[in-house]
């Protein structure tokens, strides 16, 4: 294949991705606006909010796990840091959710820089375990610090919400709607970040690190800088989602915010779709979320068992994920599926 043709196929692939991403965002936006005026859409608003919460973590995780190859097994730590930072600001200082989100994201990025300084010198399973330990350590600390509410968590008063309104809904009535649009904004940001990583020189460097860190260093890539930046970028959308969910649920709890389950769910979603692909994050999260919702409503007590079987199945049968598997099918698909 000529260089020109390769580039043309790649451009076509990017166009497909752009259209897909735009279609997803538009669809979510339409449903959100629709739900403001039609009560029948409220079920979709809530299930899609849960979907977008998970998707925000997935989009962050894909940068460090998918593109850089570092298995962050405790990625919900940034969801927790975001949630707790925002809650402290709202609870003690009455800060509004928008500012709280921004500060939460900055706090998570600073934390990622600091945690990364420790854990990013480890590779493979050692890195994975260290990230679990970091998550557990945060949970233990948070459950023991009174300022952060200990194991009871911190809870916002109803009066905190009086200033919020959207399309005629006021106070606590408006929260579910506003949260939906904030989550949509977070997901949009996450998708843009992933597109940037996928197409940039920076992303090419991350892929090289994933494939072989020594060889990446030998071709002139500052691996330490690259992977630290990847880790910092990967913390943003999880932290934003954490802040939004803390505000939406009006409470933060150690187990729910520094949650190993959320970490694992995001790993499953990334792997199911295909790590290190943009389309895979959407595919994986959508499938996982749908299956989980069906099973949780039909067989609530069996969900852990079903989780377990799903994970083992992916690992043994489809470790490269759906999009990853399709990309191996032909050279053409490899160019077309980003």
């Amino acid at each position: 294949m000529e260089a020109k043709n390769i580039l043309r196929e790649l451009a076509r692939g990017r166009m497909i991705t752009n259209i897909t991403v735009a279609a997803i965002i538009l669809a979510l936006l339409t449903i959100g606006i629709g739900s403001l005026y039609s009560e029948t859409l409220s079920y979709y608003r809530e299930t899609l909010s849960t979907f977008m919460m998970l998707f925000s973590v997935v989009l962050g995780l894909n940068i460090i796990l998918g593109y850089t190859g570092y298995v962050s097994f405790g990625h919900a730590v940034f969801f927790g840091i975001g949630g707790y930072t925002a809650m402290v600001l709202m609870y003690y200082y009455g800060v509004n959710v928008y500012l709280a989100m921004i500060i939460a994201a900055l706090a998570a990025m600073a934390a990622a820089q600091a945690i990364g300084f420790i854990v990013l010198r480890l590779r493979g399973a050692y890195f994975a375990i260290a990230t679990i330990a970091v998550l557990e350590a945060f949970r233990v600390i948070v459950s023991n610090v009174e300022y952060l509410g200990g194991s009871e968590g911190l809870q916002l008063e109803a009066s905190y919400y009086t200033g919020y309104s959207i399309a005629g809904y006021r106070g606590q009535m408006s929260v579910h709607y506003i949260a939906y649009f904030l989550l949509l904004g977070t997901v949009t940001l996450g998708l843009l970040l992933n597109l940037y990583v996928s197409r940039s020189q920076f992303g090419a460097g991350l892929r090289a690190i994933r494939e072989d860190e020594d060889a990446a260093e030998a071709i002139g890539i500052n691996t330490w800088k690259f992977k630290t930046l990847a880790y910092v970028l990967s913390s943003i959308t999880p932290a934003l989602a954490g802040a939004i969910i803390a505000w939406k649920r009006n409470i933060v709890l150690p187990e729910e915010f520094f949650s190993l389950t959320l970490s694992i769910e995001s790993i499953i979603s990334v792997m199911l779709g295909g790590a290190g692909t943009v389309l895979g994050t959407v595919t994986g999260t959508a499938i996982y979320h749908t299956v989980k919702t069906i099973f949780l409503t039909s067989f609530p007590s069996l969900h852990l068992i079903i989780f377990g079987i799903t994970i083992a199945f992916i690992a043994e049968v489809l470790p490269m994920g759906i999009i990853g598997w399709l990309r191996l099918m032909s050279t053409r698909l490899r160019f077309l599926l980003e």
């Binding site: 050692y126 233990v140 068992i305 994970i311 043994e316 470790p319």
Partner: protein, 288 residues
């Protein structure tokens, strides 16, 4: 709060006792990691499972405790063999993430069954409250017996790995699986047996730990992280290193509980783990 020398002494002694059980649990993780290059993320769930097996038999069906313990350990053995072929064999030699995920999946299945059967309420197994004074520290007799069993099993493991034909085969496979196969070692069987042995140590430790503390299905996670910490402290595939690492962690945890508060205990383990990972990921003790 005044911390008296007696309290410190008590913390030390109970740290050694409980730490030897942690060490045995870690040995289970360590052997699988060292021989199969698989970090067994079902480790904690298996420990929890063994606790509930002992509970079911001895509390719900009134089976004598020693029999319940043996039955639990035997079940672990059978489960280990089945788990190897179902969840481990196919992901060997693949990407690291595949084995992490498949063993984690196995762990979730166990956890789901435990949640389904027992719910999240903490359970305890009533045991003899007979207490022995060790250097002014009152220690329960069952715990002492448990620690002795743990040390005996760890020493047994050492002898098995370094003094028998099986041990030689295991070490040959660790060094070079292909060459071992050419020399007539049944590599798959060695791998399966090593995995089973690892599970066996985990459930033995879990069964004994069930007598010391109350537990829920989630309890396993804590012991799993303890085991990681100890493996990192003691070095991979090193039985005596695991035992010493376990005792260090046990003492650190118990002293923290005495001096600060019980709920900070696990944090000490994570801090040790992080510091060790940074400073010396190959462990304090070189491989024997």
């Amino acid at each position: 709060m005044v911390v008296s020398p007696e309290l410190i002494m008590g913390g030390l002694v109970s740290g050694i006792i409980i730490g030897s059980l942690y060490g045995l649990a870690a040995l289970g993780l360590s052997i699988i990691w060292g021989v199969l290059k698989v970090v067994n993320l079902s480790h904690g769930a298996l420990i929890a499972l063994s606790m509930y097996l002992v509970y079911t038999l001895s509390v719900m069906y009134g089976v004598p405790l020693p029999v319940a313990l043996l039955a639990s350990i035997l079940t672990g053995f059978l489960l280990g063999i089945a788990a190897y072929y179902l969840f481990v064999h196919r992901v060997l030699g693949g990407p690291e993430l595949a084995s992490l995920l498949s063993t984690f999946g196995f762990g979730l299945i166990i956890l789901g069954i435990l949640e389904l059967a027992f719910g999240g309420i903490a359970r305890t197994i009533p045991v003899s409250q007979h207490v022995i004074e060790v250097g002014h520290a009152p220690i329960m007799l069952v715990q002492i017996i448990g620690a002795i069993i743990a040390v005996a099993v760890a020493v047994g493991a050492y002898l098995l790995l370094y003094r028998t034909w099986f041990g030689r085969a295991v070490r040959a496979v660790v060094m070079n699986a292909e060459a071992s196969a050419l020399m007539g070692v049944n590599v798959v069987r060695v791998l399966a047996l090593s995995f089973t042995l690892g599970v066996l140590f985990a459930v033995t430790a879990g069964s004994l730990l069930s007598l010391a503390y109350s537990f829920t299905p989630e309890t396993g996670t804590k012991y799993e992280l303890y085991s990681f910490t100890i493996v990192v402290l003691g070095g991979l595939g090193n039985p005596l290193g695991s035992l010493v690492g376990g005792i260090i962690l046990g003492i650190a945890e118990q002293l923290t509980s005495v001096i600060v508060s019980g709920s900070w205990g696990p944090l000490v383990a994570f801090l040790i783990l992080l510091v060790m990972l940074i400073v010396r990921p190959t462990g304090l003790f070189a491989k024997l």
